[in-house]
């Protein structure tokens, strides 16, 4: 019965989210809508790391590598095809293939977690430097001039699929971006409920045990890495669509670090938390940027320290724990929620306490 109740509650939440997405452009001014569009694109990036880190147990510093590759793949393809339809597809496929290649060497080469962090970080820097040095007429892919540090300006934004002339309005862009965010969220939710998703979590929990039961952890991690790379690539396309511009700064290390802060603030091991964390932090950064009273990096650092010290589980798991304490009646529901949503944070905490 609690399971059914939980499912109903989630269905209601999804319906409410759809209604909110549909109505927002009519309720707030255009500038705010565009800002929300940016947040939604970034939230897709947050989900890509939330999935691989929170559920796959792989702390990749390279999500911006896939994000940037997706952005560049979209820009180059959109300029060449003059249609965003194949470009969006390529923005997912190119980073996925790159993740497959990189991941193959990392996971099948049995490279340990620490080096995985170093490698993903380094690859991001290499991509930054490569694209940084592509100024000049020689560096072009088809009609697209890569432009070195200046990047690619006036990238065609999204159009109605297969109708290049029908370019989306800012409101339609919002609907598309928000719908993509919701779709990625639901897709990951579904995957994690399926046997394949449970195996991903099992490998995170205990790689040795998983392999002694006959699961190949290398393959499981590789597939997780590829999927997360593809999602980050989609986020890149959404981001470039928002700004109609892409430059090597898309590979910046500060963004890599920021994603990790989003997730720490929102809650590792959940999917909702990183979205909340992303929107909150991005809003704060944007607000500070418009004030000039404080340095935003300083504030970000302070926020990270405060959360690590005071709310190590993050906002969403803490809020859920509080809610469970206030409503103690359906106990089995509470256990179920724990089992499904945050196997990482809470129980490992418990294990440490023992």
């Amino acid at each position: 019965m609690p399971v059914r109740f939980r499912f109903a509650a989630q269905a209601v939440a999804v319906v409410l989210a759809i209604i909110a997405i549909a109505l927002i452009p009519g309720m707030i001014e255009l500038f705010a809508v565009m800002q929300l569009t940016l947040f939604a694109a970034m939230a897709v990036l947050a989900l890509s790391l939330a999935f691989i880190w929170g559920f796959g147990g792989i702390l990749s510093f390279g999500q911006t590598a896939f994000f940037g590759l997706g952005g560049y793949a979209y820009a180059v393809a959109a300029i060449n095809f003059q249609d965003s339809t194949p470009a969006i597809l390529l923005a997912i496929v190119v980073p996925s293939l790159f993740a497959a290649l990189l991941g193959y060497f990392i996971f099948f080469g049995r490279i340990s977690d620490v080096y995985l962090g170093v490698i993903t970080l380094t690859v991001t820097l290499i991509l930054f430097n490569c694209l940084n040095s592509t100024s000049g007429d020689g560096y072009r892919i088809g009609k697209a001039l890569l432009g070195g540090f200046n990047g690619i300006p006036s990238v065609p934004t999204f159009n109605v699929p297969f109708y290049p002339a029908e370019v989306l309005s800012p409101e339609q862009s919002w609907w598309t971006t928000a719908a993509a965010l919701l779709a990625v969220f639901l897709l990951l939710r579904l995957l994690l409920a399926l046997p394949a998703g449970r195996v991903i979590v099992a490998v995170r929990e205990n790689e040795v045990r998983a392999s002694l039961l006959g699961y190949d952890p290398r393959l499981v991690k590789l597939l997780t890495f590829i999927l997360s790379g593809g999602i980050a690539g989609l986020a890149g396309a959404l981001y470039v669509n928002w700004g109609a511009f892409v430059s090597p700064t898309i590979f910046s290390l500060s963004l890599s670090a920021e994603i990790i802060i989003w997730i720490t603030v929102g809650g590792l091991g959940t999917l909702l938390g990183p979205i909340v964390g992303c929107v909150l932090i991005e809003y704060i950064v944007a607000y500070i940027g418009s004030q000039q009273a404080l340095n935003s990096n300083l504030v970000l650092g302070a926020v990270l320290i405060v959360f690590v010290l005071l709310l190590p589980k993050g906002l969403v798991p803490t809020a859920r724990d509080l809610l469970m304490r206030l409503v103690p009646a359906p106990k089995s529901k509470a256990q179920l929620a724990d089992a499904q949503a945050l196997p990482s944070a809470a129980p490992s905490h418990l294990a440490g306490a023992e």
């Binding site: 449970r198 039961l213 190949d216 089992a339 129980p347 418990l350």
Partner: protein, 242 residues
């Protein structure tokens, strides 16, 4: 004699860690449906032997054959798929998942979706974890976590089961129950048990292999091994004295 292929055959198995020889030229044969106990003092090489059998370590030299197929140097998951299951010395479980999910992860590799639930329920029943099925494994007591791991090994239905100190941390009553389960699964499967508890070994053992300093010291029936002076010297003597 050579017409029958033994279930497991290790020949001249050696495992070196730098200057330390953990397993030194071990030759070991296990027949189908056999129940074997492996004893020996700490550091005798029992767990290392188990690790080479399950692909967690690649032996320095020597051969291992499972039903005639070479497995030395294969990866853990490949060996697991061939039908060797192991309960490791330090419990290896999925701490953040529920008991039911732990067992289910072992069941689902072989069982069809429809057969999974009854199979999980049967294992939970056998390991007396039914009442704890929805609890997170990390919140269980040590003995119960041992059961979860034993349950996972049984649930995967391997042809050969390796149990490294299955009764460690269990009460006398739980140990007795473990012995009963081992005898029961031995009706259909071969088992190798590493244990220190001699009472436990007397309850289950038929044939015993004694490891000492990485080598096989004696291999005989329980009664003869317990009567063997060398065994008393290296192992039981200390145990009795302590």
């Amino acid at each position: 004699m050579a017409s029958l292929v033994p279930l497991l055959k290790a020949e001249h198995l050696t495992m070196r860690f730098g200057g330390v020889v953990a397993n030194d030229d071990i030759t070991f044969t296990l027949e189908e449906m056999e129940l074997r106990c492996l004893i020996g003092p700490n550091g005798a090489g029992k767990s290392t032997f188990f690790k080479t059998l399950t692909g967690q370590l690649v032996p320095t030299s020597g051969e291992i054959a499972f039903r005639g197929q070479p497995i030395a140097g294969k990866l853990s998951h490949e060996i697991a798929r061939m039908g060797i299951g192991i309960k490791t010395q330090v419990p290896n479980v999925f701490n953040g998942l529920s008991v039911r999910e732990n067992i289910w992860l072992a069941v689902r590799r072989k069982a069809t979706p429809r057969a999974q639930r009854p199979a999980v329920d049967a294992v939970l029943e056998m390991t007396r974890l039914t009442d704890h099925a929805d609890r997170i494994v990390a919140t269980l007591a040590h003995g119960q976590r041992q059961w979860v791991e034993i349950g996972m090994v049984l649930a995967a239905e391997p042809e050969l089961i390796l149990l490294d100190e299955p009764a460690a941390g269990m009460t006398d009553e739980e140990t007795f129950h473990t012995a009963a389960i081992i005898r029961e699964i031995n009706q259909t499967r071969a088992i190798i048990v590493v244990e220190h508890d001699m009472e436990f070994i007397k309850q289950i053992a038929k044939k015993v292999t004694v490891f000492h300093q990485g080598r096989v010291l004696v291999e005989d029936t329980v009664a003869k091994v317990l009567a063997d002076q060398r065994v008393r010297d290296v192992y039981l003597g200390k145990k009795v004295a302590a």
